[in-house]
């Protein structure tokens, strides 16, 4: 049997070679970070880092990484490093190694050597298959290090020699002109090389073989997870940092500074951005009407979708026989759930607007969002009810309690946590939707505080059908996501209304984020709480 080496049950202490491999992994991490920094222009390609020109530094590090990786492979093959390699690096690794060489071969043949498209294809095939063979045929330790190490060294050399340096440019020569610049290529090439280098080094660290592959894969998977978290963190932090100044403009804290609530009680804070609209005489402008609009939208959508969705879920789980009908409803709800929001907008536009006074209105927006929310409520309520153990129903039935009584007194209370969580998460989603309300509700861009929608105060009774009317519901108003969209499209010209338009826009983005994410936070928190409660009792 090929490549069998009896591995040890207990591994010895960390060896020098392991330390070296670990350092190599660290080196690629540094390169990765540098590449990301360069990509976002945190590190200048033309400048210097630690006294060395950036391009030179990157090139040097890449070469060092490449040499180290090759050294491991060769050292292991020659028996200087104690490893446990398989007979071959495997198909995945071979394809992985072939791809960059394919790109390099194609690029060099067609552009650098000027052989044109046909030559490029030929070059790509030659370089790619060479890398493939070089990875697949030799023993794993060589196969998974040498082609990749060579790649790193080559890229490093190209940077070091200045072949691709600041100012390098490759005009793609397309009808609509576009070029690949060094500012783009250098970080990206470094990034990709660092990933490959890190992968190979991690394999070496794991002494190749099953464990080596495990290590290699884990490095990539962890990196991916970290990047996603990092991305999330940066995204939110960015919006917060940009938006906070606008949000905090003119904030005052102290007794009696805030607006009055319920006639007499005065809020001890005054935050103009969330307590004002836009008006000429305001000291600071704000988005209160949009916030209130969002709240009413959500309220309306919830009032529409929750009873309907929960009711339908009850019917489907408790009354309907599993069969064609339930399946059809399932397909329909899942279809509804994935229907693009803009299509809901179109539907609202075509169906609701003509029925609500032929104009965009809060009510049309509520219902449109309600339609969107409905499938989610239905799906989550259904899941929650299905996860109520049948034992409860059996127990109730065995006591001679009728079906609806059972549903009401046992199933619904037990399913409540799931339903509530689902509704909150769904609300978070619709609260941030722009597309549907764009077509059904959107009102002004800069709405004065006095025009904040007042649904409750808007009800009127009339003598003719439908006997009750509410002009507030039938008027367009603003909502936070729409407000942000309107601010984007309104571009620079809002100076007349707002003194610091950019700050105002970021603050709007931030407040939108806060509103939506608090729904999510509450939803996630609720789920966590309910779960813990269930687990503990």
């Amino acid at each position: 049997m090929a490549g069998t080496t009896q591995s040890q049950l207990v591994e010895g202490d960390t060896t020098a070679s392991e330390v070296a491999a670990g350092v190599t992994v660290g080196l690629s991490a540094i390169l990765f970070a540098l590449a990301v920094a360069a990509m976002f222009e945190r590190v200048s390609l033309t400048g210097t880092l630690a006294g060395v020109p950036t391009a030179t530094l990157l090139g040097g590090l890449l070469i060092a990484l490449g040499v180290a990786v090759i050294a491991f492979g060769v050292g292991s093959r020659l028996g200087y490093v104690e490893t446990d390699p398989d007979a071959s690096a495997g198909l995945v690794a071979s394809f992985g190694a072939a791809v960059p060489w394919l790109v390099i071969g194609g690029g060099v043949a067609s552009e650098t050597l000027g052989f044109g498209v046909a030559g490029g294809v030929a070059g790509a095939v030659v370089a790619g298959s060479a890398a493939f063979v070089a990875t697949a045929v030799p023993r794993e330790d060589v196969g998974s290090t040498v082609p990749l190490g060579a790649l790193l060294a080559l890229v490093g050399l190209v940077f070091l020699s200045g072949t691709i340096g600041p100012g390098w440019l490759w005009n793609l020569g397309w009808e609509q002109q576009a070029s690949i610049t060094a500012e783009f290529l250098v970080p990206v090439a470094t990034l990709v090389s660092a990933l490959y280098g890190g992968w190979a080094a991690a394999k070496a660290y794991g002494r190749f073989g099953a464990r080596g592959r495990h290590m290699g894969a884990y490095v990539l998977v962890y990196l991916n997870a970290l990047s996603i978290i990092g991305f999330l963190f940066i995204l939110i932090a960015f919006v917060v940092v940009q938006g906070l100044p606008g949000l905090l403009t003119g904030v005052q804290i102290g007794a009696g500074v805030g607006p009055q609530l319920f006639g007499s009680f005065e809020l001890p804070v005054y935050a103009p951005f969330v307590m004002n609209g836009v008006a000429l005489l305001n000291d600071f402008q704000g988005v209160l009407p949009a916030i209130v609009g969002t709240v009413w939208l959500v309220v309306g959508a919830v009032l529409f979708a929750v009873p309907l969705g929960v009711g339908a879920a009850i019917f489907l789980t408790e009354y309907a026989e599993r069969g064609r009908f339930t399946q059809a409803v399932e397909v329909a709800t899942n279809g509804l759930w994935s229907t693009p929001s803009i299509v809901f907008g179109l539907f609202g536009f075509a169906f609701l607007i003509p029925r609500f006074g032929n104009r965009k209105s809060l009510l049309a927006g509520m219902l449109t969002l309600g339609f969107m929310l409905l499938p989610l409520v239905l799906i989550t309520s259904r899941e929650a009810m299905l996860s109520v153990p049948d034992e409860y129903r059996d127990a109730s039935a065995a006591l001679g309690v009728s079906k609806w009584q059972t549903v009401r007194s046992v199933v619904l209370p037990a399913a409540l946590p799931g339903v509530v969580t689902g509704v909150i998460l769904g609300v978070g989603r619709i609260a941030g939707e722009t597309a549907p309300i764009l077509l059904t509700m959107a009102g002004g861009t800069f709405v004065p505080g006095a025009q904040t929608v007042d649904v409750i105060g808007g009800f009127e009774f009339t003598g003719s059908p439908p006997f009750v009317a509410n002009p507030e519901l039938l008027q367009a108003t603003s909502a936070l996501p729409y407000q942000l969209y309107a601010l984007i499209t309104a571009g620079v010209g809002l100076g007349s209304n707002v003194s610091d338009p950019t700050g105002f826009r970021w603050a709007t983005a931030l407040i939108l984020l806060i509103v939506v994410l608090s729904f999510y936070a509450i939803g996630i928190g609720a789920r966590y709480y309910f779960r813990r409660q269930l687990r503990h009792e």
């Binding site: 008006a279 929960v310 009711g311 006074g357 509520m366 219902l367 439908p466 009317a469 499209t489 571009g491």
Partner: protein
Amino acid sequence: GGQSGGDGGDGGDGGSDPTATEAESDMGDEPTETESSDDGGDGPNTSLLNAEGSSTVYPISNTGSSYWNSNAPPSDGEYWGSNSESTVPGWSQLGEPDMLLADYFAQKFGFEPTEQRSSPPFPTTVGLSHSGTGCEAVTEGLVDIGNSSGPITAELDWSDEKAQNTVIDNVVGRDGQPVVVSSDVVDAGVTELTGEEVRGIYQDEITNWSEIDGIDYDQEIYAVGRAEGSGTDTSFRLNMLGGADAAMPGVDTRFGQNQQVAQAVSQNEGAIAYMALAFTSETVVPVGIDFEGTLYEPDRDAENTIFDSDYPLNRDLHMYTLIEDDNPNGGGYDAREAAFINMFLNDFGQTVFVEGNNYIPLPTSDLETMKEKVSALATEDLIMP
């Protein structure tokens, strides 16, 4: 116990209460003209006045609206009236009325003054989109005022006669639609273009700045356009390209509003755009245009200037109102519309709202004509303020 429901809270169990579900639907048939039909009893209708449409007219109409909503007292000085530090322009021409801003203009049309800051006799709001939308909305009765920077005849493809019978054309100012370029283009020496060249650029015949005579700037042209259906686009096709439905294959990007155009021009290299005067800046630079030998310069004081009505791209800015049976005398205004529009038809309005936004004020004769139209509803003589 018989058949009692059992434990307490059953009656109102949320899960199955259908009233909320359907309650909304019964309002579907609300008469559309809530505002205009309410005015049965005492005094004119004071519901929200809404305007919608052109992003070109938006600055005028929105500034007007925010002044109106502020209902500033005459002691303000900055926005209305006069104090020791400043006096609002046009104040003396109005006869220095001792009333709040909106109160003053509204009472001329029979509204009760509120005598309260930030609380006008009726509120106003202005939506931002483009001319086509505004014209559409006002004809369908969705809004009270439809803002448009192109004539409604071109926007909706109407005959003059239909336009006259359907809407009142309130012209509140003028725009000398400039052609603008990004600052790098100016730096490369482009300060004027011929009409031919502009046409060539937008019809995809010229794609690089180096193709312009005497310019040595190898940069692809980024031709920015406005949304199809916007007044600016329509006027540009009409006045520059030779017809409201002229083709524009050269456009690289279209934006919904003037504001976005300005932003795109300032952010990108090699950009050219057509827009409204209100949106030019140091990074969005208007260039002179040479029409058949006459160079119109972006300078108020030049001999031939784009601020002049001779400039082929010069255009009127409209606030259309719908002729309706519900209106007094079946005319083109209700009291709110007339009162609001009247605010723009005097020195104060022209200076603050039109010139203040870098547009061109109307000549006095035009103002008089417009005033005659609104005066049908006025409770006092408008011509002598």
